[in-house]
Amino acid sequence: MSLIDTIKSIVALFPKPPVHTEKDRREAKRKIVARFATGNLSLQAGKYLTEKDINKRRERVLSHTF
């Protein structure tokens, strides 16, 4: 076993703490919706807007001066 492999195996014992961001959670939800949706093509593609998405964009756009 080379020195690099030894270091790698020691580092692997102390992994970084898992990070689950809001974005990850949203993506996971979208995947679930896309998987189980039937009928509507947009939902099957995971293409939908929730109240949260809308409010977020609303705030961003309304703070802009054209």
Binding site: L49, I54, F66
Partner: protein, 192 residues
């Protein structure tokens, strides 16, 4: 007085139309679809209402939810096109746009007007308990349509503005090359 069912039918169709438009832009808008779900709920309650007063009240609520669905869908459309306008402004911030789009200032005025309109609407001012929200839903639909047309014009202008930027870059490059050659010539002349 108009037949309430006919009115609701007309508004429902309009709401569906707006929702379809928004669905093609950004995806299925759940808040607007939810409003239509409430329309069905109030229509059923109207059907089994104990008296005429309750029936009228339920029908009014159903109508308000239709209007709210139209507003919600239109607002998403307005935000979409305002976002597109902001991207356009950012993309061509160093170029004079009025050369290619002569009424650009009018587009900008409309964007600001639509933005102020959306900002003035609070969640409380438009709801199923509201007595008269006709103006708000109609206005939102008008802004949605006007911004959609504006966006079409601005997207059409993109290739022309791209050519203009390219031309300006070429002139700038020529100027820099000319200046460099002139400086080098001057240095060589002095050294001789």
């Amino acid at each position: 007085m108009k037949n309430p069912h006919a009115e609701i039918d007309q508004l429902f169709k309009l709401a569906e139309e707006k929702i379809k438009l928004v669905e093609n832009l950004d995806g299925l808008p759940f808040p607007a679809v939810n409003q239509l779900r409430y329309v069905a709920f109030h229509l059923l309650r109207a059907e089994f209402a104990p008296d005429e007063k309750h029936r009228e009240s339920e029908l009014r609520k159903a109508k308000n939810h239709c209007q709210r669905a139209i507003y919600d869908a239109s607002e998403i459309g307005i935000m979409h096109y305002l976002n597109e306008f902001a991207l356009f402004q950012n993309d061509y911030r160093t170029t004079t746009i009025t050369d290619v789009v002569p009424d650009y200032l009018e587009h900008r005025r409309l964007a600001n007007e639509a933005r102020n309109f959306a900002a003035s609407i609070t969640r409380k001012s438009i709801s199923d308990h509201c007595e008269n929200q006709d103006d708000q839903y109609q206005k939102s639909g008008e802004y949605f349509e006007a911004l959609r047309k504006n966006n079409e014009i601005l997207q059409e202008a993109r290739p022309e503005l791209g050519k203009k930027i390219q031309r300006n870059r070429r002139y700038f490059l020529f100027a820099i090359t000319g200046l460099t050659v002139a400086i080098l010539t001057l240095i060589v002349t002095i050294l001789k």
